[in-house]
């Protein structure tokens, strides 16, 4: 069972993840994979307590890459959350199986172009998307289960390798 949602979303744990995806897929564990959060005690504690009834593990990219294969065959469903394409790419380059990635929220910041209402990319993001796809990952844009999934490459052909 295990990995049922690997999501790229700058909000990490939030309502869409807990309520829309969480009630549908019932994860037993949520991995928040982020070197910055893992190194910041108050932020680590905030995310650990953010999902009552679900075990939240805050890890570095290196720790998540090491645990990725074992978790893939563990009992129960698990979510994996990263804040950006760069972190997903680093995780895959560190040894995680490329797999399916849900692109759920990459919000506007200066220098980023609009792909849709909740995905904005710059040149570095596109390079990361191409590297992930070339490594065998699929990138599917879908904020909540009820919206139509579309590949990132279909919405933005410059992200295709």
């Amino acid at each position: 069972m295990s990995w049922v949602l690997q999501r790229i979303d700058d909000r990490l744990i939030h309502g869409q993840v807990l309520i829309a995806w969480g009630s549908r897929l019932a994860p037993a564990r949520i991995y928040v994979v982020d070197d910055g959060v893992a190194a910041t005690p108050w932020e680590r504690d905030l995310f650990r307590e953010a999902a009552p009834g679900i075990e939240v593990r805050v890890t570095t990219v290196a720790e998540a890459a090491a645990a990725h294969g074992t978790e893939a065959t563990a009992d129960g469903a698990a979510f994996l959350l990263v804040r950006d394409l760069a972190t997903a790419r680093r995780l895959v380059e560190a040894g995680a199986t490329p797999g399916d990635w849900n692109v759920g929220g990459l919000h506007y910041a200066p220098g980023k172009d609009k792909v849709n209402d909740y995905v904005y990319l710059d040149a570095a993001d596109r390079a990361d998307a191409r590297a992930l796809t070339a490594a065998g990952a699929t990138l599917v844009v879908q904020d909540v289960p009820s919206t139509r999934p579309q590949t990132l490459a279909a919405l933005d052909p410059t992200t295709a390798p």
């Binding site: 700058d10 909000r11 990490l12 744990i13 939030h14 309502g15 807990l18 309520i19 108050w42 932020e43 905030l46 995310f47 953010a50 999902a51 009552p52 804040r83 929220g105 990459l106 919000h107 506007y108 910041a109 209402d117 909740y118």
Partner: protein
């Protein structure tokens, strides 16, 4: 820093919620109690975690005696970004699961107690407001 004992300092509040809920909640409160002053409203719509955190911080940084963030649900971005912004300031507490009865109770009591005591009171009031009315067929 807490408000001086016995003073009538008003505990400020910022409501941070999804879509138009903060605005709608205040509008509903105004239908019940008349004009509502000094309640700031913010939507998380379209904001990244860091932008939401910054938007909240801009609104709470001028609270000399602390205040309350009122959010819709525990674990949502309004809560987690609020917690990140609030930790850099005085006595800012976050109350999640906010409903109309809780907001009305805040409006009635915000000059009678400090932020921490008021947050405890609102938690209880919010919980107590959720009840089931059984409607037996006649």
């Amino acid at each position: 820093m807490s408000a001086p004992e016995g003073s009538a300092v008003r505990v400020p509040a910022l409501i941070v919620m999804h879509a138009d809920l903060a605005q709608a909640l205040v509008r509903a409160a105004e239908k019940v109690v008349g004009a509502v002053e000094d309640v700031t409203r913010l939507s998380n719509e379209g904001l990244s975690r860091t932008d939401l955190e910054q938007a909240i911080e801009e609104r709470v940084r001028d609270w000399p005696h602390g205040g309350l963030l009122l959010t819709d649900f525990w674990g949502g971005s309004c809560h987690t970004s609020g917690a990140a912004a609030a930790r850099r300031h005085g006595e800012v507490l976050i109350v999640t699961g906010v409903n109309l009865p809780l907001l009305l109770d805040y409006l009635h009591n915000r000059e009678r107690m400090g932020a921490a005591e008021l947050a405890e009171r609102l938690q209880q009031k919010g919980r107590d407001s959720i009840r089931v009315q059984r409607c037996e067929p006649v």
